[in-house]
């Protein structure tokens, strides 16, 4: 029987229930009981009620990728229009809606949600936990994201999509110059999406600080965790600014307030401040976790740990700190005093110092390691170059007087695509190649993988590098056409060709996914011989993740024997069993000492219905159906009460010791 070795029990008698300690190999009674406890309902009932972070993570990934494809198609239509001068494929109004939806889709519906997908799937696996801290909140976060995405696209088929650009400057987006439902859809959709992002961020933060496996002290967590933590804290701080901005705009448009109405003393510049106070930290929120993917996965293919773990972790946080004081660099041309511009300009240059730390850490890791040229490695190495190019053009636009020339030209379009595609899409696709075996149990095809990388890499550079030149030749962004005598014909033609090549690269990747899902080579638990916890369990992971909660002794639990840095070893097959219902261990924030047995909720329909009712509430606001709004508010309250209703099975206070200062509760760990 697996439950053995009682002598290993934690000598902590302050916990009211001493968690059982032992092994639970696959097929043992304990393991079967766990599987039975954690498996979700079959069929559609499970589909709507699951709170399994792995399912939610995969849903995030797929949904966000669908949005990437939609946004990409919008981009290709625009590139077709711009490939030649004086084209009339699109009217200005159609073009304006397309670039606006392209921006909204890529920035809000793809870039962060795809990273939430990775983090949702991976966090409990990386941290050695059985789920996220708030599984139902996690489900709610996904449902609201999905509904908000559908909501923001609702007016698109009517030809009434948002058309004021993703940063939606007033007064153009105000009631006078934009009379249709388009901006209301965008404004309400953003407030709705903000709920999803906020609850997701809370979940990540609490999970990191309370749910790590015993022994995984704060300096042993993977860099992806640092990246997502930093992004989540930033989101918590900045989402209120953008939600407020969009709420004020909606009030201006529908209720008759005058926050941005110049004729009545409103201030258009207020919008720019509120938007960019959110907007710039958001940029880092959608790249830092992706940089974390590289920092964690690249070392696997270099056969050595990351160089400068501490420096990279600190740089991640320093980037975000700087990220809060650079928003004005989007507003250099608004007539603010030059002294403040020079301060924000200097801060914007300084932000590349922590980026330099990361770049040299990656290069040193490759240099000192023994690279294995698998597809993910190519994506990560290619990413480093794109990151450097995007960073350097970033320094150029940070110089205030040069920014007065470069800003709002194609140079900025080039810069932001190097940053967002280079630092988000390349690591994401590399990350999918890397974790696909964990997600599905099968390897992706290497040959197609290498093809997809080279086609994407060449297409990307052919598409976006010439945009720098277009910008230097004075081509403004957001023009639906241009005249031949402006001298922009060649660069635009190259860009358009490159963008289609890049799209072919994405297509090869998708074909690879489809083929590999069915016919990929079976992966086994650790196909890349990687170091982190997620590779210690089977692929795909069982519903309960870890049969026993592992006990961690280093940053690289699966490489310990070979690194041989100390005599301590992580205990992966022997640990806390916790089989009385949905249970996992709660640990202290810094030292990860066990503190509490957390009772996790099981599957529930409530998050789906809360998400549905909240979203319908926003639909009601859009159409001014006041009584419907009242009904939906009541429905939200009722479902929330049901959600919060005390359940005996979740009553963790009965096992929770009021005195949770358990600093020295286990000398053993």
């Amino acid at each position: 029987m697996a439950i053995s070795d009682k002598k290993h029990n934690l000598p902590d008698n302050r916990l009211e229930r001493v968690p059982e300690y032992g092994c639970a190999p696959t097929g043992s009674t304990v393991e079967m009981r766990l599987a039975h406890t954690w498996e979700c309902n079959p069929g559609w009932r499970g589909w709507f009620s699951t709170v399994d972070h792995k399912t939610i993570g995969i849903r995030y990934l797929i949904t966000a990728f669908i949005f990437l494809i939609i946004g990409g198609i919008e981009a290709l239509i625009m590139r077709a229009q711009l490939s030649l001068p004086d084209q009339t494929l699109l009217t200005p109004e159609q073009y304006n809606q397309l670039f606006t939806m392209h921006g909204i889709t890529m920035i809000f519906l793809y870039a962060l949600p795809i990273l939430s997908g990775f983090s949702n799937y991976l966090w409990p696996l990386l941290l050695g936990s059985r789920d996220m801290a708030f599984p139902r909140l996690n489900a709610l976060s996904y449902w609201i994201f999905l509904f908000a995405g559908v909501f923001m696209y609702a007016s698109f088929p009517l030809g009434q999509a948002p058309n004021a650009g993703w940063f939606n400057y007033v007064p153009f987006s105000g009631p006078i110059y934009n009379t249709g439902p388009n901006i209301d859809v965008f404004a309400l959709g953003m407030v709705l999406l903000g709920i999803s992002t906020t609850v997701g961020a809370v979940n990540f933060i609490v999970t990191l600080f309370k749910m790590r496996a015993p022994g995984m002290t704060i300096n042993r967590v993977p860099i992806l965790v640092w990246g997502t933590l930093t992004a989540s804290v930033a989101n918590l701080i900045t989402i209120p600014a953008v939600s407020l901005a969009f709420l004020l705009l909606w009030l201006d448009r529908q209720v008759g307030t005058q926050f941005f109405d110049v004729a009545n003393g409103g201030k258009p510049l207020l919008w720019q401040h509120l938007f960019w106070i959110f907007g710039h930290p958001w940029v880092y929120a959608i790249v830092l976790p992706a940089m974390g993917i590289v920092s964690d996965a690249l070392p696997t293919f270099c056969r050595r740990p990351l160089v400068g773990y501490t420096a990279v972790a600190l740089a991640t946080m320093a980037t975000m700190m700087f990220g809060f004081v650079v928003w004005v660099h989007h507003m250099f041309a608004t007539g603010l005093p030059t002294i403040s511009l020079s301060i924000f300009g200097a801060a914007s240059m300084a932000i590349s110092i922590p980026s330099a730390v990361a770049v040299f850490a990656w290069i040193a890791t490759i240099w000192l390691g023994r690279p294995v040229f698998k597809t993910p490695f190519l994506f990560f190495a290619g990413f480093v170059i794109l990151f450097v190019i995007g960073g350097l053009s970033g320094v150029m636009v940070a110089a205030v007087s040069l920014n007065w020339q470069l800003n709002e030209t194609y140079f900025v379009v080039a810069h932001l695509h190097y940053v967002l595609l280079g630092i988000n899409v390349f690591p994401v696709i590399g990350g999918i190649y890397y974790w696909f075996p964990k997600f599905t149990g099968r390897m992706m095809n290497e040959k197609l993988g290498k093809w997809s990388f080279w086609v994407m890499f060449i297409g990307f550079n052919a598409a976006f590098f010439p945009m720098h030149i277009a910008g230097l030749l004075g081509m403004p962004r957001r023009i639906y056409t241009y005249s031949s005598h402006m001298g922009w014909d060649t660069v635009n033609m190259i860009t358009s060709i490159g963008s289609f090549i890049f799209a072919i690269g994405i297509l090869i990747f998708l074909v690879n996914v489809m083929i590999s899902l069915k016919r990929g080579v079976l992966a086994g638990s650790n196909p890349w011989d990687a170091a982190t916890l997620e590779w210690s369990i089977s692929s795909p992971p069982p519903a309960y993740n870890f049969a026993v909660i592992p006990i961690i002794a280093s940053r690289h639990p699966l490489w310990e024997n070979r690194l041989n840095e100390s005599s301590e070893r992580s205990s992966l097959s022997e640990g806390y069993l916790l089989t009385a219902g949905h249970e996992t261990i709660g640990t202290s924030p810094i030292d990860a000492k066990p503190q509490v047995i957390l009772k996790m909720p099981g599957d529930s329909y409530i998050p789906f219905f809360v998400g549905l009712f909240v979203s319908l509430l926003f639909v009601g606001l859009l159409f001014h159906w006041w009584s419907f709004i009242g009904v939906m508010t009541a429905a939200c309250c009722i479902t929330l009460i049901l959600w919060m209703w005390p359940q005996k099975s979740l009553a963790q206070r009965t096992v929770f010791n009021a005195d949770h200062s358990s600093q020295n509760n286990s000398e053993k760990i």
Binding site: N96, R303, T334, M349, V359, W367, P476
Partner: protein
Amino acid sequence: MKHNLYMTPFLVISITAIVVLPNAVQASEAPLNYFLHSYGPAAKPTMYLGWVLAGLSVIICIVISLLLLTAIIRKRSRSDPYSIDREGGGLLWIYIGTGISTIILFGLVIYSSMILNQVAKPTQTPALTVTVTGYDWWWKVEYEHDDPTQHIITANELHIPVGLPVLIKLKSADVIHAFWVPKLAGKTQMIPGLVNQQWIQADMSGIYAGQCVQFCGAGHAHMGLEVIAKSPQEFEDWQNTQRKTAMLSFKTFEDPGYKVFMDQCAGCHTIRGTEAAGKHAPDLTHLNSRRKIAAGLLANTPDHLKKWIMNAQELKPGSRMPSFALSNHEIAALMLFLSNLD
């Protein structure tokens, strides 16, 4: 694999060079090419800053790419493929790399602040103040004078004297636009409710193209302007001409052209010296003195003007100027009337 890694960047660069170089000549003549052709003290220092930054970026990019490529393909001593290297070490890379980056960035902060200081304000007091107001989708240009009769209003053309700093006050009548004449200075937003300022100075006479560069709606792509720099004497002459009201011999409704104008156009357009006093569209008093119509879209010829009146919505979709359905008789009369607006 090694072969691939080395060849690809070179291949990309050489193909790009082959395609781009012949066109570089054409591109360098681009009307908005501020990167190679900036003029005047408000733009030139920034151009040099741009060259320094671009050159430095290219060098750094090449150095890092070479480091990365070497890191990837450098020869390694054979070792057990199963082994894992120790975690320590390599920190020197971070120290040196970040150290050098910090020093370069520190230098750039100082250099760019100095340039900002140079271009932010003219060294001498501006000789002339012009107010430019952004409209959907054209520019109103006003030269103020203490005597209101000496006031000049024109559109989409900014005439300035050579060699003198000119202060430009920037306003907006509707949404946010941005004033940008890249060869003479960087851009400044025109924000409703605010009066922004910038200055320009042309050292050589000539025509400098400008463009609205803040997205402002359907007509954003077709919102151009021109700065026409001329000698102080020529500028004085131009001002004197513009101050005059329209010299029209037939300002009565008996004239069919005048009647069409008053019926169809005067609600938005002004002709000083007549009863036409609309404020929503360009002042047409000296229409024929301008080089272009429709905010830079078309050269100002009678043919274009006629096309513009009849088909404005096709030429500039979404424009505030309607397409007028005039009979042959009416358009002929109107064209004759407009031809007198010198």
